[in-house]
């Protein structure tokens, strides 16, 4: 299992960090508002079977923060450019949280480059009457509860960030707030167009996700006819980390068939 290697790529003058590893069909992984946390164990597993491309979005991680980045639309069009420039084809598109929203937005604009779509704890919709968690207002203790396991929560609280890591966390928070503050983590128009996604879609969710509770998972399931939903018990906002085996089984199920 090779650790992903990082390279810089430039899309229309915007330089971003791209982590890349493995071999096989292309899998584009889009991270959430918290940014990428390096080459994670789930990426290692994925790279056994796929060529995993895990970019830092513009404004996140080690990527540039371009002047033009004002909203999710800008990020969506940046990725449409990226797909063209890297000539990504027959790929599996995977997105977590804000990255799941981004993946869904790309998919409604055309699924020609993708074989499957996987949405993990995805933002993008608003379920009326079911409040989202407010990561912009939560204290560190509350944010730690995004993970289900109390030991993991404690670990997160005790983690001491280097100055560089703290700066990146702040940069990620600034950009995600700019992109997702209002409407909060969703596009009110997206639900009108999700029927356009006709490729096989896997939706994976933690039953205890305090950010987007399970009704948000069911909303995606209902709006994308070609989708399958898997909800994992005793799991918070990040099934790809908290329920690695179940997550990999979900990936296997959707990608081996397609």
């Amino acid at each position: 299992m090779a650790e992903g290697a990082s390279e810089r790529i430039s899309i229309n003058g915007c330089s971003i960090n791209l982590a890349k590893g493995g071999s096989g069909p292309t899998m584009l992984y889009l991270h959430g508002a918290g940014g990428s946390k390096g080459w994670m164990p789930f990426m290692d597993q994925l790279s056994d079977r796929f060529t995993v491309l895990a970019p830092d979005h513009p404004g996140f991680g080690l990527s540039d923060t371009p002047e033009w980045l004002d909203n999710m639309n800008d990020l969506i069009f940046f990725y449409l450019d990226l797909l063209e420039q890297l000539d990504i084809r027959d790929a599996h598109l995977v997105g977590h949280s804000m990255g799941g929203w981004l993946a869904a937005e790309l998919a409604v604009r055309g699924t020609g480059r993708f074989r499957t779509l996987t949405l993990i704890s995805a933002a993008g919709n608003r379920v009326k009457g079911v409040p989202m968690g407010d990561i912009f207002m939560w204290s560190n203790e509350e944010k730690a509860r995004m993970v289900y396991d109390p030991a993991a929560q404690q670990e997160r609280l005790n983690a001491e960030l280097s100055e560089e890591e703290a700066d990146i966390a702040l940069k990620n928070a600034f950009t995600s707030s700019k992109l997702c503050w209002s409407p909060r983590f969703h596009n009110p128009d997206l639900e009108k167009w999700l029927h356009r996604v006709k490729i096989p879609t896997m939706i994976m969710w933690g039953e205890n996700d305090p950010v987007f509770p399970p009704p948000y998972a069911h909303a995606y399931r209902k709006l994308i006819a070609s989708s399958e939903l898997r909800i994992f018990p005793e799991c918070g906002h990040s099934p790809q980390q908290e329920k690695l085996d179940e997550f990999m089984a979900g990936i296997d199920a959707i990608t081996s068939r397609n």
């Binding site: 912009f136 702040l170 995600s176 700019k178 909060r184």
Partner: protein, 387 residues
């Protein structure tokens, strides 16, 4: 020196025990009793009217949302009420939070109306609103500064350019800007910029195109001095001399017969102000993007670190965030500080937290009768020249 009586209109009837580390955004309005609110609004308006009668040069209100800290989400309503009950005093709104509104022309209209009704007694304050209000109003903090500047430009154009004209901003766009009524004062009401001392605001407000009055609010005296001095230095860098009219200081202030009595009477109420009404978690105060990343880190490492601690009466009087004492103590201290800082406008907040009406009124009268006359001659020639 000129004196502007400032009121925050806190919900002083609040159950203090209910404020558990937060009086903002999510502090439930079940803690608000309209019957108490009715009494307080009218008491506070009486205090503002009394200030005008006592000879304060102006009376000031401001804007805050969803909090026990201040009951003036729409300050122009109070300014409108004061417009008809005062004759000479300036009416100061310190200020309207420009980025929080989707249509800054409504602010241009409100202000122009007050200016017309009063025959030119409005002082127009512009602020960004504090971090908490970006949660309350769901306005993106990442565009706060951009929206502030753009809304300001739009309001100034609406006040000074003949309409109709189009306005093509990034955040605000209009086909027909054509303000009715136009403001009474030419070219427009004086503009004050309340600030806690950000470098960007200082450079912007002191710019020769603007020369706005820079009002430092609720800060330790060392920081007030540093910021007012920096403002004057910036004027010099722009090639002109800063006038006392351009500098203001807003602070809670209390006067009683003796220093001891003043301390005894004010202590619990000023402690409530700083430790109850003002408190909210740091995530409420500083939403990501509200400030630059550099100043976010700076504020987290300095100011907000201390804000977590209890601010005692002694602490806030020692660092000069609060001025309290007998008339002569207060007058001497202000005279000394004025000679160091050069401000021409003093903006005392004489009701704070839970301070009851009798004590507020006593302090106001002592200040107006025994402190103001001593200080009024300071910088009066320059202030008169600025009229």
């Amino acid at each position: 020196m000129k004196f502007f009586f400032f009121h925050l209109m806190p919900y002083g009837a609040v159950d203090l025990d209910a404020i558990d580390g937060n009086a903002w955004v999510t502090f439930s309005n079940r803690h608000y009793d309209p019957k108490q609110g009715h009494k307080l609004y009218n008491r506070y308006l009486d205090e503002l009217e009394l200030a005008a009668d006592l000879g304060f040069d102006g009376v000031c209100v401001n804007e805050h949302h969803q909090t026990a800290y201040g009951m003036m989400p729409q300050p122009s309503i109070l300014a409108g009420a004061l417009a008809r009950r005062t004759e000479k005093a300036k009416i100061c709104v310190l200020g309207r939070a420009l980025p929080l509104t989707t249509n800054p022309l409504s602010i241009a209209e409100e202000y122009a109306m007050i200016d017309n009704i009063t025959g030119g007694r409005l002082i127009a304050g512009f602020v960004r609103g504090i971090g908490c209000e970006y949660h309350s109003y769901m306005v993106n903090p990442g565009f706060s500064l951009e929206r502030f500047h753009e809304a300001h430009d739009l309001i100034i154009e609406a006040w000074t350019k003949e309409g109709p004209f189009p306005f093509d901003g990034k955040h605000y766009r209009f086909q027909y800007v054509n303000l009715w009524p136009r403001p009474y004062q030419e070219p427009h009401p004086p503009i004050w910029i309340p600030s806690q001392g950000s470098r960007e605001t200082l450079e912007w407000a002191s710019h020769p195109d603007r020369k706005y009055t820079y009002l430092i609010t609720f800060s330790p005296v060392e920081s007030v001095t540093r910021n007012l001095t920096a403002y004057a230095a910036q004027c010099e860098a722009y090639g002109y001399q800063c006038t006392p009219e351009q500098l203001g200081w807003a602070l809670p202030l209390y006067v009683s017969e003796t220093d001891e009595k003043a301390a005894q009477e004010a202590a619990p109420h000023i402690e409530n102000f700083f430790n109850k009404f003002l408190v909210s978690p740091v995530e409420y105060k500083l939403p990501p993007g509200y400030s630059s990343m550099a100043s976010y880190k700076y504020v987290m490492a300095t100011k907000f670190k201390h804000r977590e601690d209890f601010l005692s009466y002694k602490g806030v009087t020692d660092n000069g965030m609060f001025l309290c004492g007998s008339p002569s103590t207060v007058a001497e201290r202000l005279e000394e500080l004025q000679s160091q800082m050069g401000f021409g406008n003093l903006v005392p907040m004489m009701q704070f937290g839970t301070l009851p009406g009798e004590l507020t009124e006593k302090s106001m009268r002592l200040f107006a009768e025994e402190v103001m006359p001593k200080l009024r001659p300071i910088a009066s020639a320059e202030m008169a020249a600025a009229e």
